[in-house]
Point group: C2
Chain length 323, copies 2
């Protein structure tokens, strides 16, 4: 038995998303770096979503979801709970479409993130740090406002939006052997792998998680969706667990899942800052970490790397904290 | 009486430099940032030389100087004393032309800079931290090797090379009211102002120094070249003083010199990291600092900003040191 509501977007829906969101997102550059190529023994092509509006790819999916809502729904606004990039992206996308955004954040979220979400005009409300507290607060908010909840990844509109970056990557670079993608809840890799396998069947897609949040790797290896029990990593954008939808898409389209250690993430992040002069957040560094650690056999290949975001905390750099 | 040897390069020499170095440098992007535009009340166009090879514009001048040396001179190599970006750029440019580079560095230079210069294949020798110690060591090295000294800025080949970035900026952006440039020894602004005044006479060029190293401002205001007495700033690329050559060029082509405080530099640097997701070194942040501080009246104008380099020390960020 298959549940059609969980099928994931088709390639034509990703193309439609690209046309729909074009005015609201940057077409980000693809950078190369000779020093990192030498370290990897491979040709690396970085799709720089850290230079995207709001500092991450999340604006793609959020824009694609809101662009498809009818005016009546938009009147009541959109809502989510997020302490991270999805909240900020939904706030900006809502503003672009003249809609109100409600974002539930834990009181413990860094003040810089609270300011960022509020800065895009969202109404921020606070809750306790647990998932149940977040969900209760969101449910109460929806009951009060009638806002439409936009989930950060368990939504084909979101997945199709994130997949648009793969269209741009494949237009910019030919003959990729691999595309390597960070994995949290799986929305990004679901969209990217759907586009890549349809457009370039010889290109394999590999997902990367932190060792401390490797539910997707365990799920794919066991063939059954596993919970993320007490996920913990400096890569704060990758702590969510797969939904049934993203699990199915990954199983169909992704070649392999690998995991990297905290030290490997920090080393890769610092190399991106130092050699490329680009700010990458920890979650964005896991793909390079997997290549340099040897978790992915890279030598002699051409690899697309999704540099997913640049919203790093500039007051607490992990390499200075380590000393 | 005029000294023809101090005239500075003409526009056609800058065009010739651009053709000569094309294969050895990046054509760097020009980025905009809506958040910074809003803060400045102006349209800002950042010429991103922090994304240049070696992490700064210095590779342009170094490549242009070495490309014009005859093979006999190249056999003996090139030499300079530099603890900064010019040393690394000269090392890479020499390697690109199959020549040997000798770089005299103070023993006190950060180990990351020693490694960078050595990493490009230069022979590094060490001296005491004083200017006289550097000059003595360099003279002894030249006597021993016959290497040609390439000065970091008092050289028309260097100035013409640095000016090539202005050609690219003016091709990328039309109708600039201002171009704002960091000033140390004056090589960068000499090349940029020569190109801008020739190609776009209505565009004014303004130079920016740290208050603690404002010899160029004092020189222009007094009409006579002033010494940089005990220059001191976090902007370590801007501590050198003008030569007679760069002083004359600036007097002819630059509209005004302004200075910014250390706190203004740090604030601007952090904004570039946080909002643009780009690593800029302190010296590269002075232009934005002058705009945001009000030292340059910017409101409603279109401004080209030379983001001169990205070689920041990632172990000692100024905003964390301040706390």
């Amino acid at each position: 038995m298959t549940d059609a509501s969980l099928r994931g977007p088709r390639l034509d829906e990703i193309h439609a998303a690209a046309a729909r969101i074009e005015a609201y997102v940057h077409r980000t550059p693809v950078y190369t770096c000779r020093a990192l190529d030498e370290l990897a023994g491979a040709a690396l092509f970085f799709k720089c979503e850290n230079l995207q509006k709001c500092g991450s790819f999340k604006i793609r999916g959020a824009s694609n979801a809101i662009a498809q809502m009818d005016s009546r729904a938009l009147e009541h606004g959109v809502a989510t709970h997020s302490s991270g990039n999805h909240g900020a992206a939904l706030a900006l996308a809502a503003r672009n479409f003249g809609a109100k955004a409600y974002v539930v954040m834990p009181e413990t979220a860094p003040s810089i993130k609270k300011r960022a979400v509020a800065g895009y005009g969202a109404e921020v409300s606070f809750c306790g740090p647990s998932l149940s507290s977040r969900e209760e607060s969101l449910a109460a908010l929806v009951a009060r406002t009638g806002a439409s909840v936009v989930h950060p990844y368990d939504d084909d509109r979101i997945i199709a939006g994130q997949g648009t970056l793969a269209l741009e990557l494949l237009e910019a670079v030919r003959d990729l052997d691999l595309v390597v993608v960070p994995v949290g809840g799986g929305g990004l890799i679901s969209g990217v792998s759907t586009a890549v396998t349809a457009l370039s069947p010889t290109t394999r897609v590999i997902g990367v998680e932190p060792e401390g949040a490797d539910d997707a790797r365990r799920s794919i290896e066991s063939g059954r969706r596993q919970a993320a029990s007490a996920p913990n990593s400096i890569a704060d954008g990758l702590l969510a667990e797969l939904s049934e939808r993203t699990f199915r898409i990954i199983r169909n389209h992704v070649d392999r899942m690998v995991a990297v250690s905290e030290a490997e993430i920090i080393t890769a992040m610092r190399l991106i800052w130092e050699r490329m002069k680009l700010i990458a957040e920890p979650s964005a560094a896991v793909a390079l970490a997997a290549i340099l650690s040897g978790a992915i056999g890279a030598r002699g290949t051409r690899i697309g790397i999704v540099l997913s975001g640049g919203n790093a905390d500039l007051d607490a750099l992990p390499w200075t904290a380590q000393r």
